[in-house]
């Protein structure tokens, strides 16, 4: 099963954020469909639209791996199914 999800990363800018997050995603067979990144002041903010291949890696497992890398980088990383945003903001 392929599940669309939104990944958001927030925290202080530093070297290697995109590299580390992308590496975990690749290892979990999660494809990046779209990516937006900006720096506000010194705060790094990135949102990605990704497709989680749940046959390869369970959603829970992807979340767990991202949480790990989030702790390593000192960033807040959340992965939520895309439906929640579509449902809440679109009629």
């Amino acid at each position: 099963m392929r599940t669309l999800a939104i990944l958001s990363v927030l925290g202080e800018d530093r070297v290697g954020i995109v590299a580390n997050v992308s590496r975990v995603l690749a290892e979990c067979s999660t494809n990046i469909e779209d990516i937006r990144q900006t720096i506000i002041g010194s705060t790094f903010s990135m949102t990605m639209l990704v497709t989680v291949d749940e046959d390869a890696t369970a959603f829970d497992e992807v979340q767990r791996r991202l949480e790990e890398v989030g702790t390593e980088l000192g960033m807040q990383i959340t992965l939520q199914r895309e439906d929640v945003f579509r449902f809440m903001h679109r009629i």
């Binding site: 939104i6 958001s8 469909e33 779209d34 937006r36 900006t38 903010s45 949102t47 639209l49 959603f59 829970d60 979340q63 959340t78 992965l79 939520q80 199914r81 895309e82 439906d83 929640v84 945003f85 579509r86 449902f87 809440m88 903001h89 009629i91």
Partner: protein, 454 residues
């Protein structure tokens, strides 16, 4: 990307900073197949049925929380009003069913189970009589079971015999749980115009007209609404406030609709209703009273409160009605005192009285909720309060309820502490002029005329 970064940030802020959550996912279960004249057999069947039907409820709800990133505060079960089973029993004592339900609730890991309930608005059948008589004992020996009794409807009027019986039952519950701040009363609600698809405790039941198993969702989010109202300029007019609340309510309801659909799909049961309610929690910032104050009333309970609440309630329904086509339950703001930090502050400062709360219940759901009163309050006084609240519901064709806690040994100025979602509350003063005759007359208030409204 067809979702904008602003929308993503907004959703994350709603969850992380404004207490957006789904108040409850409730699995409604019919116990009709468990009926047996042998109480032991019936209790065993009830336990087996609830545990086998609900074993996946908590894990599935937790999975949905993780995947969507929206917390679900409570996972609950509601069952067929137990009075129906009580009528089949060959014994009067119904507590073995309450014990079976409590054990099942612990086994499947849910927070509360509702449905130790009876309908007594027109008369009291054998089942209802047995159930009501068992309530004090049942609520004192169980932890998670909740009871409710409907004593009035717009079509039948008010059963004043049942009102008096329930007032005495409330006193008995308080006495049996005196060592725990009379917590038994926090699990008992007396209704007028009870609804049968209500996911909120203590009044959740699985009504006679429902499918065998169904998922009902209660939305929440007072913190989000408060933040929206707070963000408006002080000179924003009432129309602007109503518009802002409506837009937010739509988003909250959509989250509820999504959770309800997913939970029903994953559990393989019918999707029931989304209850469009703002339900506070004891968490700081998750308060309905603070929305009223953000609208500009000095302190909840002060003049303007009823009007502000009416606007809030209506705007929530209007926004929510766009968000789901499965509206049900009580659908309106809740004003439980002990579960709302703003209400507690208002009551402590003297701004909020029981009389004002009663007025507020005329424009919102559901009634006088989670109010601690002095332990020496008489049964006649409690019956008078219940009758007043029933009259508001019956005449205005809406649901009202009473959940009073006459805390044994406590008086005005003391506090009761329940912990968890039930919170804590200051003991509030009760008008002492109820008399003794009115409540003891019994009989039935005739059903009101529905035309010639005024």
């Amino acid at each position: 990307m067809h979702i904008t970064p602003e929308e993503i940030v907004e959703t994350l802020t709603m969850v992380t900073q404004q207490n957006l959550d789904i108040r409850t996912v409730t699995l409604g279960l019919s116990l009709a197949s468990c009926a047996d004249s042998d109480m032991e057999v019936m209790a065993r069947r009830v336990y087996d049925h609830v545990t086998s039907s609900a074993e996946r409820l908590v894990p599935v709800a937790e999975q949905i929380e993780r995947e969507f990133g929206i917390p679900i505060c409570n996972k609950r079960i509601s069952v067929t009003p137990v009075a129906q089973l009580a009528a089949v029993s060959s014994t009067d004592d119904i507590t073995p069913i309450a014990l079976a339900l409590d054990r099942a609730a612990h086994e499947v890991g849910i927070d509360f189970l509702g449905g130790f309930s009876a309908m007594a608005h027109k008369g009291m059948g054998t089942g209802s009589t047995r159930l009501i008589a068992s309530i004090p004992e049942a609520l004192s020996i169980t932890e998670r079971v909740c009871a409710s009794v409907n004593v009035a409807t717009t079509r039948a009027g008010i059963n004043m015999d049942a009102v008096m019986t329930m007032a005495e039952t409330v006193k008995a519950c308080a006495a049996l749980t005196a060592d725990r701040d009379s917590i038994g009363c926090a699990k008992l609600v007396v209704f007028a115009n009870m609804v049968e698809d209500n996911p909120f405790m203590a009044g959740a039941v699985h009504g006679y007209g429902e499918p065998s198993a169904v998922i009902n969702v209660g939305i929440s989010g007072p913190g989000v609404v408060r933040a929206i109202v707070d963000a408006l300029p002080k000179d924003a007019d009432m129309t602007a406030i109503a518009e802002a609340i409506k837009a937010t309510s739509f988003k909250i309801t959509r989250a509820g609709e999504l959770v309800a659909r997913e939970a029903a799909k994953r559990l393989g049961v019918a999707m029931g209703i989304v209850d469009l309610s703002l339900a506070p929690t004891p968490a700081e910032g998750d308060s309905v009273a603070e929305i009223i104050e953000a609208m500009g009333v000095g302190r909840c309970g002060g003049p303007g409160t009823t009007a502000a609440l009416a606007l809030l309630n209506d705007a929530v329904k209007k926004g929510g009605a766009m968000g789901t086509s499965s509206i049900g339950g009580l659908s309106g703001a809740f004003i439980p005192v002990s579960e709302d930090q703003g209400m507690i502050r208002a009551a402590e400062s003297g701004a909020l009285t029981i009389e004002k709360l009663e007025a507020m219940t005329a424009v919102c759901s559901v009634g006088l909720d989670m109010i601690a009163i002095p332990g020496d309050t008489t049964a006649e006084t409690i019956a008078g309060v219940i009758a007043d609240e029933c009259a508001i519901g019956v005449i205005n064709n809406k649901t009202t309820a009473v959940r009073l806690i006459p805390a044994v040994g406590k008086s005005v100025g003391d506090r009761v502490k329940f912990g968890g979602l039930l919170g804590e509350a200051p003991v509030m003063a009760v008008n002492q002029w109820a008399g003794t005759v009115f409540a003891r007359r019994g009989g039935r208030f005739p059903a009101p005329l529905q035309s010639l409204r005024n």
